[in-house]
Amino acid sequence: MTAPSLQIITWNLWVSAPVCALAASAMVTLIAGAFWPAFARWLTPCLALGGIALTAAFTILAGMLGLPPAGMQVMDSFTVVFDLIILIAAFITVLVSNHYVTRENLERGEYYALMMLSASGAMLMAASDNYVMMFLGLELLSIPLYVLAGFSRGRSESQESALKYLLLGAFASAFFVFGAALVFSATGSTNIVVAGDATERALVGTTPIYVIGLAMILTALAFKVALVPFHMWTPDVYQGAPTSVTAFMAVVAKAAGFGALARVAAAGPEGSWTVLLWGLSAATMIWGNLLAISQNNIKRLLAYSSIAHAGYLLMGILAGGRAGISAVLFYLLAYAAMTFGAFAAVIILAGRGDGAEDIEDYRGIARRSPLLGWTMAIFMFSLAGLPPFAGFFGKLYLFSAAVEAGYPGLTVLAVLTSVMGVFYYLRVTVVMWMQEPEAESGPAAQTSAPLLSRLVLSALAVAVLALGIFSSPVLRWTNSGSAGLERSAEAAIQMTLPEPTNAPAALSGGSR
């Protein structure tokens, strides 16, 4: 009896190995930053990059082992694909951050450590098939982000951003916990799939409580990924936070929310759930794009653009199935590349103290710096969804998944709103390329940047192009991820069914 239980413990350790590796590397980074502050400048980012690479190795290794679900966490191919997207995003964040933290004097060891802890929370969220674990992941993602949002303590915008993010984030997580409590009280389980399955089989008579609980969980996740009408915090928090943190928030926090949504939606009840997601998606696309048009601050523009993209991504979740989730994963990857690119360019352009953040400040910049002009144009075209860039193919896969799943109306709406998007994305490009620079206008935008920043910027532009041109191998990879999500949902149901006799099947057949 002892031997098999030991076996199970080993498997469990492998399932949580990637998250543990990242958290442990974060601790090492933190300690190194505290003990050798003289070397912190280059030591902590190097340690962070090393830790992220190590975690990626662990993720791939754990994925190859083909591990069974381990109680609260699953290491299926969805987790592997998702974790790697998060890790790529974290890796790019460290590279993008380097120039920013040096310029703004934010070089403290905890900066990278907090970022890694936050990323480990994002990984945990996508890897959890249990509301308890998902809540832990949510908080592990959010609490370091509250600190990071207020990281430049000298600027009152940053403090304000931290306070707003904290209050609304904590408010949202209270909704998550209460929703999980309702789901638990209705079904007697905190496992996402088992709770959904129990309700579907009408094993318990309290379905309304389950639906209310699920709606509260959806509210909390909608706060995290900034869906309309839970998006109010986004522009303020994105504008006030240090730009490198904003980039991280826009990509990793959003991705984590969608990873969790994919897990929850797989177990969501039909009917009311679909209507809810449809409405949220439509409202988010329309409102996000509409408000983005009138923005002058580039960070606020990107904030509203991230809201609009959340609407498109939710379409994939709504479509569900293999095609829908695969499209979401692909879009997240494309979105990560183009959003990081745009923020990396903004970091360079804004100059010391983030002086030049208005779009008008970037007049004629492309002539002074062709690199910034070209790369920013590529990122903006891709965000607008023009071919042949990654954003176009991401939208194509999402839209076709939605049409196949039977949501043509929503798809038409999505196409129309992306046309609206073209307007404000192209405006940035037009300002940078076609307008004359004004000598005496406000704080001048900067074009000089260290070699690393320029390399990262070019690499991201190439990635956006490559993801577009070579989209099919990447899509095959994300397909494997969505297949894993389906498989582990089936496995979770198989594990909990006590005995596969004919009686429960007949019962469920009758209740439908």
Binding site: Y131, V132, F135, L136, E139, I143, Y146, V147, G150, R153, S156, E157, Q159, E160, S161, A162, L163, K164, L166, L167, A170, F171, S173, A174, F175, V177, F178, A180, A181, L182, F184, S185, T187, G188, S189, T190, M232, P235, D236, Q239, G240
Partner: protein
């Protein structure tokens, strides 16, 4: 034994009080307190139902312990942010935190 429905009622009332507090209070610390109230309302639910819906298992209790630990962490970070704000402005009214368009 107290019936589970009483516990649900209590937790719903606590949650609503917390919700009202978050929406109505303008003091950052009071808002944090209201959020704690909402989290603890959920804890009551968990502990109360642990015995009736999953007898013999400790899922509910364990979730409650996790929530308490996380609430402590959140409160620590939250108060730190509020203190940082207070040092700068000598004021923690959220209405006056309006450098950015709200």
């Amino acid at each position: 034994m107290i019936p589970a429905s009483w516990c649900v009622a209590l937790s719903a009332v606590l949650f609503s009080i917390g919700l009202f507090g978050v929406l109505a209070r303008r003091n950052a610390v009071a808002i944090l307190m209201s959020i704690e109230l909402m989290l603890n309302a959920a804890n009551i639910n968990f502990v109360a139902f642990s015995r009736s819906v999953s007898p013999g298992e400790l899922t509910g209790q364990i979730f409650a312990i996790f929530v308490m630990a996380i609430a402590a962490g959140e409160a620590a970070v939250g108060l730190a942010i509020v203190i940082a704000l207070y040092r700068r402005r000598s004021n923690i009214t959220v209405d006056e935190v309006n450098v950015l368009k709200w």
